[in-house]
């Protein structure tokens, strides 16, 4: 949690509402969605606020259509967004893959509720972490961020748009029922205080524009429909001009590039929030609403003399291996509390390779893990 700015307008907002404010601050002008608990407020507030700033809200016939619409809008130049929860997120998977392969910037919010299937619609959960990475077919690059406070709902939504634009990729924000519905007082920064990044547009003569040509960043400039750079966009694997190809010598560089553009910029993309980690003997790795409980538990543990440290993951995918790895060989143990059966802990174990002990707290009953649960474990560890 960063220091709360005090310059801006002070408001009491739900996490869901703060996301709308963040999106608008980042320049979002298009939202397509389909209502679902506990994400509905995002649609509702968007429908009220977007037209006032000259943007467009549309409620589509389902989540598949919503995902299609935000891709189309982005190709036509808008910064676009949708928001849903588990069932709708499952339905978006096919078109999400399209956005990955056609490199269309957009932001997809999943306010997690209990699953699988209709599950526990009004309860909190964090069980879509793996789905956010692997939900669509085929190897694809993706950026997934997790939020834990109303303020982060604002700040990270801005970041999500910025990353989407910078890397021409869909960015998924995982929120959860607690974060989405909790109201907190935050200060909305003034427009000038926010860094807003726009996609890089081609500036060569249109005849020279090669829409999917590699460069050192791995992110080609993006023409938008109507701006004179006509090109072909497809979900088929394509060559540098955008035309379908089956040639291995075109397939491999393409697929490698879209992965590389994310992986080579990991220092820009990986975000964590550390507290008391420097001398920590036990590292608590948490994200989303659970990070709040964890943070309290860590502070209380310190008061009781337990050398705990708090590592809040904001970027979940690509998994922040580069940040976490150094700690693994240093700490006595890692504790991963999650509202699922062990998804981030699975990744921690994967990169751990036997270096330290990894323990978990997994709560799946639809309620938030309490600070006490974590504290008790920290004291025992």
């Amino acid at each position: 949690m960063n220091e709360q700015a005090t310059t801006g307008r002070q408001v009491l907002l739900q996490g869901n509402e703060a996301m709308v404010e963040g999106a608008l601050a980042a320049g979002c002008t298009f939202f397509a969605g389909y209502p679902i608990t506990p994400a509905t407020e995002i649609s509702e507030v968007m429908s009220v606020k977007l037209p006032a700033v000259g943007g467009t809200f549309v409620q589509m016939e389902d989540e598949i259509a919503s995902m299609g619409a935000i891709i189309g809008a982005s190709l036509a130049g808008a910064k676009s967004m949708t928001a849903t929860s588990g069932p709708g997120f499952s339905l978006m998977q096919e078109n999400l893959g399209f956005a990955c392969v056609a490199e269309v910037p957009c932001v997809v919010v999943n306010v997690m509720r209990g699953g699988p299937s209709t599950g526990l619609p009004t309860n909190v959960s964090q069980a879509d972490v793996m789905q956010a990475r692997w939900g669509t077919h085929g190897d694809h690059p993706i950026i997934v961020l997790a939020v834990s406070t109303t303020k982060e709902c604002f700040d990270i939504t801005v970041k999500a748009f910025n990353l989407a634009e910078k890397y021409r990729t869909p960015v998924i924000i995982l929120s959860d029922e607690v974060v989405g519905h909790t109201r907190e007082k935050i200060s909305l920064p003034h427009p000038g205080e926010i860094e807003v990044i726009d996609r890089i547009r081609p500036n060569m003569p249109p005849e020279w524009y090669v829409p999917y040509e590699d460069n050192s960043r791995g992110v080609p400039p993006m023409g938008i429909f109507g701006d004179g750079y006509r090109y072909h966009v497809t979900g088929l694997v394509h060559d540098v001009r955008g035309f379908p190809t089956q040639r291995p010598d075109e397939i491999v560089p393409f697929l490698n590039r879209i992965h590389r553009k994310i992986s080579q910029h990991f220092f820009d993309i990986l975000m964590v929030d550390e507290e008391l980690t420097e001398d920590a003997e036990i590292l608590v790795v948490a994200y989303g609403s659970v990070a709040r409980s964890a943070r309290r538990a860590v502070r209380e543990a310190r008061e009781r003399g337990v050398k705990a440290g708090m590592m809040q993951l904001i970027t979940l995918w690509p998994f922040p291996r580069q940040i976490l790895e150094p700690y693994l060989s240093r700490v006595k143990a890692v504790l991963v509390p999650e509202l699922n059966m062990g998804q981030v802990s699975r990744e921690v174990k994967r990169i751990n390779q036997g270096a330290t002990r990894v323990e978990t707290i997994n709560r799946i009953d639809g309620n938030l893990i309490t600070p006490e649960e974590i504290l008790v474990r920290l004291i025992k560890m």
């Binding site: 589509m60 299609g68 189309g72 808008a78 109507g226 006509r230 966009v233 497809t234």
Partner: protein, 280 residues
Amino acid sequence: MAEVTKLIHKYLRHDKKFPHVWCPGCGNGIVLGSLIRAIDKLGYEKDDVVLVSGIGCSGRLPVYVDFNTLHTTHGRALTFATGVKLANPNLHVIVIMGDGDATAIGGNHFIHAARRNLNLTAIIINNNIYGMTGGQYSPTTPYGALATTAMYRHIEHAFSIAELAVTAGAAMVARGTVYHANMLDKLIEKAIVKRGFSVVEVVSNCHTQYGRRNKLGGAVEMLRWQKDHAVRVEKTAEMGEEELADRFTIGVLVDRDLPIYTEEYKKIREAARAKMAAAR
């Protein structure tokens, strides 16, 4: 008539490997020609035209032509097109779909696009079959026909694409054939200029996957069939039930004026601005 091909070539993407992928005689090529001529007639800038398609043989159409082209996922072309149009209402957005694409997996988007009445043009190439995947029945495959998933005979009833569009609320609905290509030019042109959601169902031929299996012959025979069975809608008034039984109508079937979405939305923006201003 001279210079027609020259005109077409002005729009083709020559860096894309020609001849195109379609089978010899496939109606898709004829539709592409009509579409290009219609747009040329309207004098639109290539930059202002967005051609969106789904997946299928028909879905491959945009790749050949030098507009802003978008080849989406199966059945979802209209959803992408909705986003494009709403984000930039100045673009002329034309959507090409196959019968399966538009009315099987994409049926819901189709009726909702018609209901929503965005200013889009949907061209549906109805060849009564899933061409690309090899001849499985589609929602427009006639009762009793053969298909690779109906090897005994087809027992489902076909949709009328045009009627569905009318009931769902489209502003303009037309039907043409690839045989009546001149007329098709005009229907497409009219659909593009129409303000509101316009649909052109194009009766086309997939002799490879549908014609052969159903003993309807090759491309030539299937075009001849179109010629023999199509009736101009203007003529139907004079014709008896019996005469019409085996036939289908072509021409503009419905043309009505309804408030269009983007215009309506402008008013919403005004209302929103007024409300926000009042709140401040």
